[in-house]
Symmetry: C2
């Protein structure tokens, strides 16, 4: 006998679960399309060279690697070379950058992409975190202006609103602003990334933890960094407080971009839109604006993204400005289920027949009923009353009995 359960961290979806997931997915895609985005698709498997190109932060450690085959494998074993040259994608952004590099000539000058596919990460499974999970990404490639961020934030907020999330908070910041803070606090350039990674853990380790961890390698700078953060977050106008505090460390372009994105998105979304100096976002590829959506009162991020103007150039040699926003599909489904969201139930009819009937005759009756609704042909069980009850529980809104060439509707 073999193991019946799915492999660790992965899931089977029963018809009821599948139907819920499909409805959520279709709703998100419909909203994205309304905002002028187009669906595309890339394969689940990519070359490891691409996946391991140091864009994915810690996620690169979680890649499922695929064993080489045939001669390539034997060669690798003989020469002690790499055993794998392919892997499962850990996100949809790195494959999108490859896709764009590959198909640039066939795409509009400003390309607005939708991807709603699975990604795989060999992460430690825990509640709501899986090893195969779906992401719903929108990306705009070829637009370096703030219009891109504004469209992405507007469309993502709209997608969540259409699913009944009327309590979202959109937090916005900019990687360049984080760099300006690090510069102002006199951190060595090589320590910047380390500082951001620690700041990113603020939720988990608290401000004291941040202070301690940074003190470990930059004891003279840690306190001024933490003080600056606390000063900004305590302010009634944190954005202008930040601009003031950073002075010339922050360029005018970043200031103007952040100001415009925040002010326009306040008019285009029904969500609360705030500047959040503590926002970091884990991926290495971000270069400018970064943003996240969470639910008011809950410390749960449901969507995140940012600008990554360098990634496409790194892959193809020809740069293109780009930014994206990704909805955490699995979390959204979990929240909707918890919130008892009203999912639609499809009309279904059961046609119960007894053994004495000719199958050609039954199939003809079923075919006739199918002109109007989905029909499942079912053999009559011995305990008919119990069978009818079961069929109702399975979601059949209409049940017919067919016997002696008579079609009778069961109440």
């Amino acid at each position: 006998m073999l193991q019946k359960t799915p492999t660790k961290g992965m899931r089977d979806f029963l018809p009821g679960e599948f139907s819920i997931r499909k409805q959520v997915l279709e709703s998100i895609i419909a909203t994205y399309e309304k905002h002028g985005f187009l669906q595309i698709e890339t394969p689940a498997v990519e070359n490891l060279q691409l996946l391991n190109s140091k864009q994915g932060g810690d996620n690169e450690k979680l890649i499922y690697k695929i064993l080489k085959r045939g001669e390539k494998f034997e060669e690798a074993i003989e020469n002690g070379g790499e055993l794998c040259d392919l892997g499962l994608r850990y996100d949809l952004t790195v494959p999108l950058a490859r896709f764009y590099s590959n198909n640039r000539g066939k795409l509009p000058a400003v390309f607005k992409a939708i991807q709603t596919d699975y990604v795989w990460r060999a992460d430690r499974p825990q509640r709501g975190r899986y090893r195969q999970f779906r992401q719903c990404d929108m990306d705009i490639i070829g637009d370096g202006s703030t219009l891109a961020e504004i469209e992405l934030i507007t469309a993502t907020a709209d997608a969540l609103y259409q699913l009944g999330f009327d309590d979202t908070v959109i937090r916005v910041s900019d990687r360049r602003l984080l760099s300006a803070i690090a510069n102002k606090c006199q951190f060595d350039q090589e320590d910047h990334e380390k500082v951001f990674i620690i700041l990113d853990k603020l939720d988990k380790i608290g401000i004291k933890g941040v202070l301690e961890e940074i003190s470990a390698f930059a004891p003279d700078k840690a306190e001024s960094f933490v003080n600056l953060l606390m000063e900004i977050t305590a302010s009634s106008d944190p954005l202008n407080k930040t601009f003031e505090a950073l002075g010339d460390y922050l360029d005018e372009k970043t200031k103007a971009s952040l100001t415009e994105i925040l002010s326009v998105c306040k008019t285009t979304t029904k969500a609360q839109v705030v500047f959040d100096v503590k926002l970091v976002r884990g991926m290495n590829y971000y270069t400018g604006t970064i943003y996240e959506i969470s639910l008011s009162g809950l410390d749960i991020s449901v969507a995140g993204g940012g600008r990554y103007d360098q990634l496409i150039g790194k892959i193809s040699g020809t740069p293109a400005p780009a930014c994206g926003f990704s909805i955490g599909f699995e979390r959204i489904v979990l929240l909707l289920t918890e919130r008892k969201y009203k999912f639609a139930q499809k009309e279904k009819t059961a046609l119960v027949f007894s053994g004495s009937n000719d199958l050609a005759d039954i199939m003809k009756v079923a075919q006739h009923l199918r002109e109007k609704t989905d029909v499942c042909v079912v053999k009559r069980a011995k305990n008919f009353a119990y069978q009818v009850q079961q069929l109702k529980e399975e979601g059949f809104s209409t049940i017919y009995r067919y016997e002696n060439q008579q079609l009778v509707k069961i109440d």
Copy 2:
């Protein structure tokens, strides 16, 4: 710079290609649902123990295997053990059997499943054959009667008919009938599988090739086997000719089942339904009826399946009768494209604005237009006439220009 093309044998799908594939998929699913089937899903990754359980025939040689990680990997290296314990599924039937074993208590007594997912095979890529490709499977588990085969054949024929294939031929046979032929020709039991594998290559190697290959190990039986086949196929009533020729070698149940399936399906489908003694089907798991759909005049199979009553018992210890039918999605898409099938074009509007506009204002106009249609916001290019032409080519049926707070429709 990194490789821009997808990994060998796999594909990127541009928006136009994606839209075609989505329409085909949605049409197939809608027909399957009309026939009372329900969508489910299993993960792409399964335990290698399941995938390598000798059910998949030659496909087991084509499995993409996933490298073990962490301690498990180090242990394998140290002890010279297996490097992999997971793999990508090569079909949807073996995972379905595991799914059913795992979830049996939560499913209807007769479970009618739809799966329309990707599978992976490290096959030699060639025209129309890919290493990641989609299959559209229907399966009925828990029904050992011919109703299951009849429903599957009816629904699959309907799905193809809905896509405009009005020239399909459904070929039906039975594995038990093949066994009876092998017995009648006195082949050793252990040679049966070999004989069937050779017969399965008839299209490629011709009847002479079959004779030669079988003669290599059973020279005294090869001729009578080939003669019997030729006699049957030359007959005007091959089914009854077969029954006559096989006499007691074939049991009454198999005869009745084949006769009923053929006669009922002639009334439930618009396709040509024929008995084909030469039909084999590659998978090891088939135990009874087998069937294939091809297009009249073309030697291309577009769907295939059969009964596999042993598979679930092998996985879970508790047997259940089962049969399935799988549409070769990639081939269908290719044929529809070649046949210039009329795919729907979605209504799309472009809203072109010039730089002088306030973004909040533009977004408000876009939001208003979105109440009726999908809207893409586009910055005005220097050469506006060329831009309009490009937008039309990209499929925008309506184009507006927004300037000085005026919305003007472009013809």
